[in-house]
């Protein structure tokens, strides 16, 4: 079994492609969706794709440093989610909607 796990190295390219695809899907979601909460979720998806890429290269190099970076990214993602969601609640209280098209007061 362990020998098999080491042989996964032959298909690490595939993980890179999966990570890039996840990032692009997240970017597409940020560009098209208008619901602010779905936008935050797409940002989480992009952060996770970066995590996947870091773990892939940690496997590639045989060093654990990149996996420590993943921890810090998880920390930043958690902080971002809490602050973003509380901003969202404030915006919903003021506008009674979370449609990002309505948040254009600075433009006027």
């Amino acid at each position: 079994m362990t020998a098999d796990v080491n042989n996964i190295g032959t298909s690490l390219d595939f993980f890179v492609i999966v990570a890039i695809a996840l990032f692009v899907i997240g970017a597409f979601g940020v560009l098209t969706r208008k619901n602010m909460i779905v936008l935050l979720m797409c940002i989480e998806l992009m952060l996770n794709s970066v995590n996947l890429l870091l773990v892939t290269f940690s496997k590639y190099h045989g060093a654990a440093d990149a996996q420590v970076f993943v921890f810090f990214i998880v920390v930043v993602a958690a902080a971002e989610a809490t602050v973003g969601l509380s901003i969202l609640i404030m915006a919903y209280r003021n506008r009674k909607s979370i449609d990002i098209e309505l948040f254009n007061k600075l433009k006027d």
């Binding site: 098999d4 796990v5 996964i8 970017a27 930043v76 509380s86 449609d99």
Partner: protein, 170 residues
């Protein structure tokens, strides 16, 4: 079945569920599909010998952050206000932009990582709690402390932001 086939199946399922996050109309369905995506990503971590990160991913992302999202969705009661659709122009142009980004990154990586088949000698104990803990509390102890400060700042900020305005004025 070899691990290569398993990883290809899991990777395609990851991409499919991530697509469902973006394409599904109802936000709660998006949250559920995002949780499914995180579980698939954790399975990919396990395939790459990062067992501890897989567990952390499930606990922190699928367990904590996604429950927070669900909580906020339930609090806001968005059933009445349907999300307006983006225009076809916006959808088409963002599809072109995202596809262009994908192609550019793949093309940039094509000559470097995607062709090289040489890998570092594999140490099986990379993803264990012991090796990660050793690194985290020796080489990366300063970022670790800084991230705790970041957490406190985020916590205070979230509490202050989500408070009722009257209480802030008092």
């Amino acid at each position: 079945m070899s691990l290569q086939i398993i990883s290809i199946i899991l990777g395609s399922l990851t991409i499919a569920s991530a697509l469902m996050v973006v394409l599904s109309k109802h936000p709660i369905r998006s949250v559920i599909f995002l949780v499914v995506t995180f579980f698939f990503i954790s399975s990919l971590y396990i395939l790459m010998n990062a067992q501890f990160l897989a567990i952390v991913n499930i606990i922190v992302y699928a367990g904590a952050i996604m429950v927070l999202f669900l909580f906020v969705l339930m609090l806001l009661n968005l059933n009445k206000t349907a999300e307006p659709e983006s225009s076809l122009m916006v959808k088409l142009s963002s599809l072109i932009a995202a596809g262009g980004l994908f192609l550019v990154i793949i093309a940039a990586l094509k000559d470097s990582i995607l062709l090289s088949k040489t890998y570092a000698p594999q140490n099986e104990a990379i993803g264990t709690v012991q090796s990660l803990g050793n690194l985290l509390f020796s080489k990366y102890v300063v970022p670790f402390e800084v991230s705790s400060i970041l957490f406190i700042a985020a916590m205070v900020g979230a509490v202050l932001l989500a408070k009722r305005e009257k209480q802030i004025i008092d």
